[in-house]
Structures are given as structure tokens and as C-alpha cells.
């Protein structure tokens, strides 16, 4: 028995190293005073972060990405909310099939989605590529995640809650606003944060569909051609990892709080 547990422990540690070592390299080289990414380390510097502050094109890319991520999170969550509510409360023919279909982009390879969207937007609809085309594509990618999260929120919701509000004199909309919405609000916040995070660092689809102004991941990819800017990318990467961790932590916090508020047990959430 003991030997068995020991073996598992070694496996777990190796797994974690494999998973996180590359990420730990990011801050190490972001603060390393050398252009070449290699050991031994050359000394501490915040120079690469200073460089981030002064690169105009990067600022544009970040602004673009934030705008896209925000619009995506709002749109995907709104769509997810409608789908999850319909899935939880309404009854219509072919419900299971339709819900399954909506969830499909979750497992489609991004590259396929990107190429087919490009064909549709350029060849079929003849649209100019812009931030809006990226937003549309990101909404497509993020909506299944939003639905998954919000489905959880609605599953925990007693369907008679909204009926009780109706029964007490509210109409359909005010019943939804006064009862359902506050009860699934933690799910909504959690969904927005996750959609925001996904959109912010999504590369493949953005690379294909971006207009004249690149998003941040696309800009980073462009930088890779210049070995001298590698440490800058490390610095940027460090900030992004920190930001992602913070956002996901907040999302998880709201999900758990929602469960607690509804007086339910944690049934294994998204994280």
C-alpha cells in the first residue's frame, strides 16, 4: 500500500512540474538582465517591464484585446443566459438536441472554426475584417462555456422560484428580474470572467480574423520574429498569467458563493 501511494506521489509531482515549469520560467526570464533566454541568469532588472510601458503598438493591441474581451464576455453571457434558462425551465420539442448542438463549438478544433469563419466572412458575406469579426468569432467560442457555467447555476435553481414570483403578482419579466436574475448572478459574473479570459488570450481565431489592428496575442506572435524582444514577451506573459489567475479565482469565488447562497453542496464546478 505504502509503495503504491509513494509511486502516485512521484507521478503527481512530476505532473505538476511538467505543467507549471514553463509558466514559472516566464517571471524568471522577465526579470533577467539579458536578451538571450538561457541559464545562468544574468541579474535582476525591471527593464523589460519599462519597455512594455513605452511600446505604443503594444498599448494599441492591449486596448483592442480588452475591448474585444469585454464585448465578448457580455454577448456570450447574454446568449448563455438565454440558452441556460430555456434549457432549465422551458419545454420544447427537440430540446436536448438543440442544447447539444449549441455546445458543439466546445469540441471543434479552433483552427477549423477560424478557417471556416474566415471563408464565411470574406467569401460569402464579403465583410471587412475588424474587431467586430473577432468579437463575433469569440462569442461563438465562448458561448458554450457560458452555457456550461450558467446551466450549473440554473440547475441549482428551484423552477418554482420564478413561478412563486408570478403567483405573487409579478409578470414574466419582473419575476425573472427580481428572483431568477439575482439568484443566478454569481453564475453570470463567473461566466463573464471566464469568457473575458478566454477571449483575451485567444490566438488562432484572432490571427485569422483580425483586421488592420492586431489583438495582443497576435501582436506577441509578431514580436517573436525579433529575438531581441523575447524578454519583453516574457514580461508581458508574466502579467497575463497573473491576470488570468486573478480572474479565474474571482470567477470560482462567485460560483462557490452562489452555491452557498442557494444552500447547496458543491457538485464540482468548472475549476
Amino acid at each position: 500500500m505504502r509503495g503504491n501511494g509513494g509511486g502516485l506521489r512521484v507521478y503527481a509531482v512530476a505532473y505538476l512540474i511538467f505543467l507549471y515549469a514553463p509558466i514559472i520560467l516566464l517571471p524568471i526570464f522577465a526579470f533577467n538582465d539579458a536578451t538571450i533566454i538561457a541559464f545562468p541568469l544574468a541579474g535582476f532588472t525591471t527593464h523589460w517591464f519599462d519597455e512594455l510601458w513605452t511600446t505604443k503598438a503594444l498599448h494599441e493591441a492591449v486596448k483592442n484585446s480588452l475591448m474585444i474581451a469585454f464585448a465578448t464576455s457580455v454577448l456570450a453571457t447574454t446568449l448563455g443566459l438565454c440558452a441556460a434558462r430555456a434549457g432549465a425551465m422551458a419545454d420544447f420539442p427537440g430540446k436536448k438536441g438543440i442544447i447539444g448542438f449549441v455546445m458543439l463549438p466546445l469540441v471543434l478544433p479552433d483552427i477549423i472554426v477560424a478557417v471556416s469563419l474566415l471563408i464565411v466572412l470574406r467569401q460569402v458575406l464579403d465583410l471587412t475584417l475588424s474587431n467586430w469579426t473577432v468579437i463575433a468569432a469569440h462569442v461563438l467560442l465562448c458561448t458554450p462555456f457560458s452555457i456550461a457555467i450558467l446551466n450549473g447555476a440554473f440547475q441549482n435553481l428551484d423552477p418554482s422560484m420564478e413561478e412563486a414570483a408570478l403567483d405573487l403578482g409579478e409578470n414574466r419579466w419582473s419575476a425573472f428580474r427580481l428572483v431568477t436574475l439575482p439568484l443566478v448572478m454569481p453564475g453570470i459574473i463567473s461566466s463573464m470572467l471566464i469568457a473575458f479570459t478566454i477571449s483575451l488570450d485567444e490566438f488562432i481565431v484572432a490571427f485569422f480574423l483580425t483586421g488592420s489592428n492586431p489583438t495582443m496575442p497576435v501582436y506577441i506572435w509578431g514580436l517573436l520574429r525579433f529575438p531581441a524582444s523575447l524578454p519583453i514577451i516574457m514580461a508581458l506573459g508574466t502579467i497575463l498569467v497573473a491576470l488570468s489567475v486573478v480572474l479565474l479565482t474571482i470567477a470560482e469565488y462567485f460560483r462557490r458563493r452562489g452555491l452557498k447562497r442557494a444552500g447547496l453542496k458543491d457538485t464540482g464546478g468548472f475549476l
Binding site: D158, S160, M161, E163, A164, A165, L166, D167, L168, G169, E170, N171, L178, V179, P182, L183, R261, A262, G263
Partner: protein
């Protein structure tokens, strides 16, 4: 005082797809009545209640409440309020906010509303609980909040869907009494859904027993218990022994020959489902049979029996006895009294029965 009809259903049908959940329900419920819908699981009690509340539309027939046709009237515009089986207390609001929820469109001042809320909470025995968080309440307290929240709107009808089924036995019995008291106090029509026959008998003025989307019998509790109109009602309400028999009409009386027990001459109202003749089923309640103990005498009819099974309940003992000529053992309930022994399995004894307690049902 003649009862004033408040809810009238005529020929109400409800389909869920192909499934016929309510089959031509005709029903009148009166003002101020405590009415129960009783029946086995899946018979359509909740469906009928939700139809009255307006959460389900009818597929056919008409539903009138207080003289108005309810077709197309949404739940928020009906003079009904509901206590849900899950209570549906809003967990993000306090107890007082829950109770005040239905008063949002009420033109009264804030102070008057607060007073009404306090009174409603007082009425259900939750005075001073207003500031509590709703999600921290016990089952019984939730139910009281749900009651206060519905009653504060002074509906014409309060609908209750198995309101006691989530409570433990003690709490359930307490709430049964509370509900009866509350209903008398406010004078509102209560419609209670339950699958617990005892609960229905204890609480109701009248009971509709439902089977598979139909009303099998509608009567006051005593009639329902003493004169069930069919075997399925008799089986569902209380315990009943069923024996084979033959019936012949003799004027407005019936002569029945009960297999194993003998002949009896009974009044026509002992066949509440109409006068079935020929082969019939005869029902006898366990408490209308009696063990005749050693040294006791009785002027009732007597037959010999052997004790087959004894179940001791403290205040009562249930015996299953075998009577020659009766194919199944008869169940008899006896009150335990000083000087009255509890018989052993296999003991020879005598059983007294009375023709006035026989119920003749279609075979």
C-alpha cells in the same frame, strides 16, 4: 348558510402531449371550504392544482373562479396564491422581504406594509423573525414564511401542494392543527394536495379522491371512510378487508351472503356505488370486527377463527385471523385495555361482526 360556489370546473381536460393527465374533471369548491385533493402518486393532483393557479392551461372544458372564466388569465392576475411543495422561499431576501414580495404594487405606505408583514408573521407564529435570512430557516419555518407570504395578499383561494410532506412526523402533526386553525381564522378557501389519506381525513371539509386523472369519489371525510363507493377508494383510504359475496335486492334493502361469515340484511346506502347485484365484494373495516375474548359476551354475530399474525402497536393490537370459508386472513384492530390479553399466534378465538358495518361494492 348555503355554500357559495367559488371554483367551478366543468369537463376540464389536460393533455401533456399524448398523455391525458386530467380526464373531464367536474368539480365545485365552495367559499371558505377546506378542500383536499387526495390520490396516489401520478394521478394528477398537482396538475389540477396548477391548472387552478394558472401555471397550466386547460386543454378542454372551463374553469371559473369567483364567477369569472379563467381561460387565458395568467397566474399573477388570478385571485389565487400557492404554497409550493418546495416552499420556494427566495433565498436572497430576508424573511420580511419574502413576505412583503407580493405587496410591491400595493399602494399603501411603507409603514402600513411593514405593519401588515409583521401581522402576517405573527399569524403564522414567526413574530420577530422578519430580519432573519431566508436561507437559514428550518423546514417548518420556511413553510410558515410561505404561508405568510401567500396569506398577506388575502387571496380568495390558497393552494397548497403537499405542504407537509417535507416535515418530520411531529412537525407535520403540529402543522396540520395550525393549518386548520389558520384556515378558520382567515376564512379563505384552502385547497390542499396530499397523498396522505390520514392528513386529508383530519383536515378537510371535503375530499376528492383522484385516480388516473379522474375523481373517484367526492365526499366529506366520514362518508368517504364509512361509505367508499368503489374498491379502489376503499383500498386507498384506511384499511379494509375484502370478502366475496352475493347480493340480492329486497325492496330498498339488500340481502348479502358473505363467504365464510354468513347472511346479512343491509340498508341500500351501504352500497354507495349503486346497488350491485349478483357477485359482489364486501368490505369490512378492521375496527368494526372484534375478537371476543374468553368470558366476554356479545349480541353480534360470531364465527370461529384462528390467530394467524399479531402486530402490537402499544395502544392497539392488529390481528390477522383465519376464518373457515374466507380465503384471505381478516385483519382486526383491537384497543388494548386493562384485563384484555394479547393473543398468541395459533390461538383459537371467536370473531364478532355486524351487518351494519358491511360495505357492498361492485366485484
Amino acid at each position: 348558510m348555503t355554500p357559495k360556489p367559488l371554483i367551478q370546473l366543468s369537463g376540464v381536460d389536460k393533455y401533456y402531449g399524448d398523455y391525458h393527465a386530467l380526464r373531464g374533471i367536474d368539480l365545485t369548491i365552495n367559499e371558505g371550504e377546506f378542500f383536499s385533493l387526495l390520490g396516489p402518486s401520478g394521478c394528477g393532483k398537482t396538475t389540477l392544482l396548477r391548472t387552478i393557479a394558472g401555471f397550466e392551461g386547460v386543454s378542454g372544458g372551463t374553469l371559473m373562479i369567483d364567477g369569472k372564466n379563467m381561460a387565458g388569465v395568467s397566474p399573477n392576475l388570478r385571485p389565487t396564491n400557492m404554497v409550493f411543495q418546495s416552499y420556494a422561499i427566495f433565498p436572497h431576501l430576508s424573511v420580511a422581504e419574502n413576505v412583503a414580495f407580493g405587496l410591491r404594487k400595493d399602494p399603501r405606505s411603507k409603514e402600513e406594509k411593514a405593519k401588515a408583514v409583521a401581522e402576517a408573521l405573527e399569524m403564522v407564529g414567526l413574530g420577530g423573525y422578519g430580519n432573519r435570512a431566508a436561507h437559514a430557516l428550518s423546514g417548518g419555518q420556511r413553510q410558515r414564511v410561505a404561508l405568510a407570504r401567500a396569506l398577506i395578499l388575502k387571496p380568495k383561494v390558497l393552494l397548497l401542494d403537499e405542504p407537509l410532506s417535507a416535515l418530520d412526523k411531529k412537525m407535520r402533526e403540529l402543522m396540520q392543527v395550525e393549518l386548520i386553525r389558520l384556515q378558520r381564522q382567515v376564512g379563505i378557501t384552502f385547497i390542499l394536495v396530499t397523498h396522505d389519506q390520514e392528513e386529508a381525513l383530519v383536515m378537510s371539509d371535503r375530499i376528492a379522491v383522484m385516480f388516473e386523472g379522474e375523481i373517484g369519489q367526492l365526499d366529506d371525510p366520514e362518508t368517504l371512510y364509512r361509505r367508499p363507493n368503489s374498491k379502489r377508494v376503499a383500498e386507498f383510504i384506511g384499511k379494509m378487508n375484502f370478502l366475496d359475496g352475493t347480493a340480492t335486492a329486497e325492496g330498498n334493502r339488500i340481502a348479502v351472503d358473505v363467504a365464510g361469515l354468513g347472511k346479512g340484511d343491509i340498508a341500500a346506502d351501504q352500497a354507495p356505488g349503486g346497488m350491485p347485484l349478483g357477485k359482489v365484494t364486501v368490505g369490512i373495516r378492521p375496527e368494526t370486527l372484534a375478537i371476543v375474548f374468553e368470558g366476554e359476551t356479545t349480541d353480534r354475530r360470531i364465527c370461529d377463527a384462528v390467530v394467524d399474525e399479531v402486530v402490537y402497536y402499544g395502544d392497539m393490537t392488529y390481528y390477522d385471523v383465519k376464518v373457515p370459508g374466507v380465503d384471505k386472513p381478516l385483519t382486526i384492530s383491537m384497543k388494548n385495555m386493562i384485563g384484555r390479553p394479547v393473543l398468541d399466534v395459533g390461538a383459537l378465538t371467536r370473531v364478532a361482526w355486524d351487518e351494519r358495518s358491511l360495505v357492498v361494492l361492485a366485484a
